[in-house]
């Protein structure tokens, strides 16, 4: 079974009937930047083909070529034995290829049925008006085919994220898709909802639909996919059956070097208690959270997206005041009702969305860095000239390269933008740093610099809370790991006892009896 796989993956011996679509030596450049170069990729009917790689590896670019959003600069796209060139997603859809983007492009104010028919020929009544009954009937049929019970008349904004996802899938399938591309479909789903999605994927593949599955969750990839293709820096690294790979090998292929070279973490000796949270609760977001954080310690906060980690950190920072519970800074009770109050107690939060929450994009690097210290350095309400030296000092500490201090932040690379955000927080000289996904979407070089900086800061005695969805990051950097699930702390692990498995189990609720009926779950978790 594995032998023919290998030859077919090579492409030469493939009979076109055996693929839904095939990309051959595709290259795409944006200006001078090469996004993908000489990449080949094929999808067979009825398979789940995982596409993995770090942020910026070229996964989304590649799939947008298949979806007709981008035209390749070089190379060809074959669909059903013919070379095609799509000029829009509409062409791709006509050829049976549907993409479900990461950011769902639904219309929140419209009903489920209306969303399914957006941009498509809608049933008409005899008088030329919309035939709503026919639309709802058709929508109901589509949803039934997916095995879900959703009211076709309900407004999309009232649905859970998981159900919105299902609407997006149903919409993609309205056009008799033979290939479905899913870009990070589970990033905001709970474990139970992931199960439902996987059920739908299995039904699709049973009907000979091919599925491209883009994800960074290794456990899901190994569970659902038949084959895996790894991209790195726009190049094709490897395509192999999932059974021939293991998670460590996959990570090595993605990162291009062993993980321990990426991270820097010295021996730590946590000192006095810097931050303590007791029974913190905010309705609908998190409940009864206790945590302690010491000077010189990096505390990892793991969990799935939507587990309430960001909300908890923002609550400590005064953005979302808690309903009940206590926050103690240096052993003293602190009433923190605004970011300013938090800063005065030496707390600083580095947000996960750097463009919308961390930066004033039209501002220069300098003005962004000094944003939070203007009130400190200004004299009689005016900004002194020494502002420049202050900004320079922190820019140097973060080694922001290839940019002038007067460049607007909006034009910087993701890595440099993140460095500016971190520099801004350091300028305030906080004792307690809350870092929310500090390395998301930045290149490997910038990542390792941020890790080294975190290590240095901990050595200086700063207390660091590291929120991260990348397990390797938490496992490698944190002295201690707290796991959150559905708004509650669901596990705590010391550096030695923490493993990928037990953290993931705590994050997804694998031990929760409600999920125990699922045999896959049980097999991987218990003993």
């Amino acid at each position: 079974m594995t032998q023919p796989d290998e030859t077919r993956a090579g492409g030469a011996a493939t009979t076109e009937a055996a693929t839904v679509f095939r990309l051959e030596d595709v290259t795409k450049r944006f200006g001078g930047v090469v996004a993908v170069e000489g990449v080949s990729f094929e999808l067979r009917p009825g398979e789940v083909h995982a596409l993995v790689g770090e942020n910026g590896a070229g996964k989304s670019t590649l799939m947008k070529i298949v979806d007709g959003l981008y035209a390749p600069d070089e190379g060809t796209l074959w669909v059903g034995g013919e070379v095609v060139s799509f000029s829009s997603p509409r062409d791709a859809e006509a050829a049976g290829i549907a993409m479900i983007p990461q950011e769902l492009d639904l219309f929140p104010e419209l009903s489920v049925a209306e969303n399914l028919f957006v941009g498509r020929k809608r049933p008409r009544t005899r008088w030329g008006g919309l035939d709503r009954d026919a639309m709802q009937e058709e929508a109901r049929k589509r949803l039934d085919a997916l095995g879900v019970s959703l009211d076709a008349t309900s407004t999309v904004k009232r649905l859970s994220v998981a159900n919105q996802q299902i609407v997006a899938i149903a919409r993609a399938l309205v056009g008799e898709a033979r290939a479905v591309i899913m870009d990070e479909p589970t990033s905001s789903l709970t474990e139970r909802e992931v199960r439902q999605l996987f059920g739908i994927i299995e039904d699709l593949t049973a009907g000979d639909v091919g599925v491209v599955y883009i994800s960074h969750r290794l456990d899901e990839i190994f569970e659902i996919s038949d084959r895996i293709t790894v991209l790195r820096d726009g190049h094709h690294i490897k395509t192999a059956p999932a059974s021939e790979l293991d998670p460590e090998e996959l990570v090595r292929l993605m990162v291009g070097r062993p993980l321990n070279e990426l991270f820097t973490r010295s021996e730590s000796s946590p000192g006095e208690l810097a931050l303590e949270v007791r029974g913190l609760t905010r309705g609908g977001e998190f409940e009864d959270v206790d945590l302690t954080l010491r000077r010189g310690e990096i505390l990892g906060l793991a969990g799935l997206v939507g587990a309430g980690r960001t909300e908890l950190a923002q609550s400590i920072f005064g953005i979302r005041p808690p309903d009940s519970g206590e926050i103690l800074v240096d052993g003293e009770g602190a009433r923190i009702r605004s970011p300013r109050a938090a800063m005065e107690r030496g707390i600083f939060y580095v947000p996960e969305e750097r463009r919308s929450q961390g930066l004033i994009l039209p501002f220069s690097i300098k003005n962004n860095i000094t944003l939070s210290i203007l009130d400190r350095i200004s004299r009689f309400g005016f900004v002194p000239r020494s502002e420049r030296q202050t900004a320079d000092r922190f820019a140097k500490e973060l080694s922001i390269r290839g940019a002038k201090m007067s460049d607007p932040a909006g034009r910087l690379s993701g890595g440099n933008q993140q460095k500016v955000v971190v520099a801004k927080s350091l300028a305030r000289e906080p004792n307690i740093l809350l870092l929310d996904e500090p390395t998301r979407g930045i290149d490997v070089g910038a990542k390792s610099e941020i890790y080294r900086l975190m290590d240095d800061l901990a050595k200086e005695g700063k207390a660091i809370l590291l929120i991260s969805s990348e397990l390797d990051e938490v496992l490698s950097m944190a002295d201690r790991i707290l796991v959150m699930r559905e708004g509650r702390i669901s596990g705590e692990f010391g550096r030695e006892e923490a493993t990928q498995e037990n953290v993931m189990t705590a994050a997804t609720g694998g031990r929760n009896p409600s999920n125990a009926e699922d045999p896959r779950e049980e097999g991987s978790v218990d003993e």
Partner: protein, 331 residues
């Protein structure tokens, strides 16, 4: 700045600095102003005379002073369309004090205090009340006009003494007080906008309110102060207005609120906030004055004024949109 400035200085020929100049938000309006002045000068040689230029500036002093303050509100990402009625109310307060007590200082204080009070109400409703500023100031536009009518009973205030009128009609070395006040406040606003903490925070709040909040900036205080500043500047403008007119009618300032917003936007300050400058507000106001004056000198009938002004606003917005597309400036 040393890094950034060095190439511009060494580059010679001004190539780099010219491009930097053209990137500034008020550049299109300034270029347009120069072109217009040249055109009007060619068409009528009386246009460029010192006396005419001074009278243009004097005629837009009230508009310009208010635009300098509303500019800050718009930079914050808010708007204030209550200034027309506010000017009337301030003028009524200043006029009442002028006719009873006389002098310049007391009427000026009365106008400024009245303006600051009205601005504080605007600011309070926007920040603490969390009501969109367009709604708050639209309501205030009508409410304040109503107060004027109730207080004055519909009658004019006349007989403003000359010592009060000096701010509108007085001259020093051939330069009218209105022009001096306008230029002085412009310089003050440039300094405040470039170098003060509040000035910087205004850009931050308008550029990305969320990030400004996350950075611990006092967003509500920044916006509140901007609304109060409008009131203070309207108060000053009301005394200039009263001096020039010599009386206070109940419809004083009617329609001015939108001309102010037009001046700010024509000048190049982004209506969505975060981008612009006091120079933009001044340029916009002067541009409006030049056009109105030029039309008169060219003998264009007065009924054309509004059409030309409207066309100008659309033209200004269009050139800005085009410029952004060309430069690829998404920020």
């Amino acid at each position: 700045m040393s890094e950034a400035r060095a190439p511009a200085e060494r580059g010679g020929a001004g190539g780099v600095s010219l491009r930097r100049l053209l990137r500034r938000p008020e550049a299109p309006a300034l270029v347009f102003l120069v072109v217009l002045v040249a055109a009007f000068t060619l068409a009528n040689d009386r246009f460029l005379q010192v006396g005419n230029l001074e009278s243009i500036l004097a005629s837009v002093a009230v508009l310009g002073v208010i635009a300098l303050a509303v500019n800050q509100v718009i930079l914050c990402g808010e708007i204030d369309i209550s200034t027309g009625s506010m000017l009337g109310l301030c003028a009524v307060a200043a006029g009442a004090v002028a006719t009873s007590a006389g002098g310049l200082l007391l009427p000026l204080l009365a106008g400024v205090a009245m303006g600051a009070l009205a601005g504080a109400v605007n600011g309070f409703l926007v920040t603490v009340g969390r009501i969109p500023s367009i709604i708050v100031t639209l309501g205030m536009l009508y409410a304040l006009r109503g107060v004027i009518l109730l207080v004055t009973g519909g009658t004019w205030i006349t007989g403003i003494p000359n010592e009060t009128r000096v701010l509108g009609i007085g001259k020093v070395f051939g330069l009218g007080y209105p022009v001096i006040v306008l230029l002085l406040l412009f310089v003050v606003m440039e300094l405040v906008s470039r170098h003060s903490t509040w000035g910087r925070n205004v850009f931050a709040v308008g550029g990305n309110r969320r990030a400004a909040r996350f950075a611990g900036l006092p967003i509500d205080r920044v916006r509140f102060l901007a609304f109060v500043l409008v009131g203070v500047f309207v108060g000053i403008a009301s005394v200039i207005y009263m001096g020039r007119a010599g009386s206070v009618q109940t419809n004083t300032g009617a329609g001015l609120e939108l001309q102010v917003v037009a001046a700010v936007v024509i000048g190049g300050t982004s209506i969505s906030g975060g981008r612009g400058s006091p120079l933009a507000a001044l340029t916009g106001a002067v541009l409006i004055g030049v056009i109105l004056n030029g039309l008169v000198l060219l003998g264009v009938p007065g009924i054309w004024q509004d059409a030309v002004l409207g066309g100008l606003i659309l033209l200004a917005i269009t050139t800005d949109v085009l410029r952004r597309r060309l430069v690829g400036d998404k920020a």
